[in-house]
């Protein structure tokens, strides 16, 4: 399989088939990452457009400190933060999920799973920004090393925050995970 970096070089020479491969590889997960942090699909699509174009237009991308993917997510995250600064955090707060309802007693397995996932969505939406970044980057498929590069923090700090994030979610989901 051709590497992202090789495809990136081909796109810069105008090879649109290379672009199609890169898009198929990353767009969906990156969109999920953006969708989780922006209030609407339209916003997420706008930032996806800007992020991919900005990554491709970068004059000098040095891949020795990270992969194409880390570069892409770094730019996307900065664009999200810029929007948050310009629009005010209140407007960009997670509005997709309201406060979770209490679990229904006696629910069968399928309903219980749906409720658990809704509870997870709510818990993730209430995570503070640094922990929320971790959750969404990790679920986008990035490795710990890649996440550390994207966030610009040491690997040890990242691991410590991952533990913190998991503990917060675990506490939030206690009512749903109790027998």
């Amino acid at each position: 399989m051709e590497s992202d970096e090789a495809l990136y070089a081909r796109v810069k020479k105008g090879d649109m088939r290379a672009f199609d491969v890169l898009y198929a590889r990353h767009a969906s997960r990156l969109f999920g990452f953006l969708r989780a942090q922006l209030p609407s699909r339209a916003d997420a699509e706008d930032v996806l457009h800007e992020a991919i174009l900005a990554t491709l237009e970068s004059a000098e991308v040095v891949f020795d400190r990270g992969s194409f993917r880390t570069w892409l997510y770094r730019i996307a995250r900065n664009l999200v933060l810029n929007r948050a600064r310009s629009k005010g955090r209140g407007e960009l707060a997670m509005v997709r999920f309201g406060a979770s309802e209490a679990p229904r007693s006696g629910a069968d397995d399928d309903v219980a799973h749906v409720e658990l996932l809704r509870a997870l969505d709510g818990a993730v939406a209430r995570l503070p920004q640094p922990l929320s970044d971790l959750y969404h980057l990790r679920t986008s498929g990035l490795t710990y090393e890649e996440m550390a590069v994207v966030l610009g923090i040491p690997l040890g700090t990242l691991k410590s925050r991952m533990n913190q994030m998991v503990n917060v979610l675990r506490e939030e989901l206690k009512p749903w995970t109790a027998p």
Binding site: K13, R35, D121, R170
Partner: protein, 139 residues
Amino acid sequence: MDCSLTLGNLIGYQFATVSDEERQQVEAHLVECTSCLRSYLALKAHADRGGDAEGPSEAARLKLRAAVAARFRPTPTRRVGRLLTRPVPLYQGLAVAAVVALAAALGPALARVVHPALSAHVAERVDTARPSPESITLY
């Protein structure tokens, strides 16, 4: 390990923050308990798709593709520019230098072989440029 402990550890298990011992306990329980296994698979599937099953719209893809094509598609001007700014590899530079040096060294000899008359004319011109013994006046 009972169901409550396993479910509590599923998030940590998914994000690989549990200890080796806890991981083994979770895995042992998941093999035996269908309900917890289904919860884990639901959590995993949910996390793997980033919480949103739908990707960007086809319109968004086409718009971006058009923008990338407009920005990077090779035009005659871009092709010429790329050719001019293309870095020359070292071995190509050395090869050109070697050819030039060889031409400078062998050029005069080759010229004599190919054009003997021209060489003689040049030699004659050189001779006439020298002062003849008669033209030297001794004072």
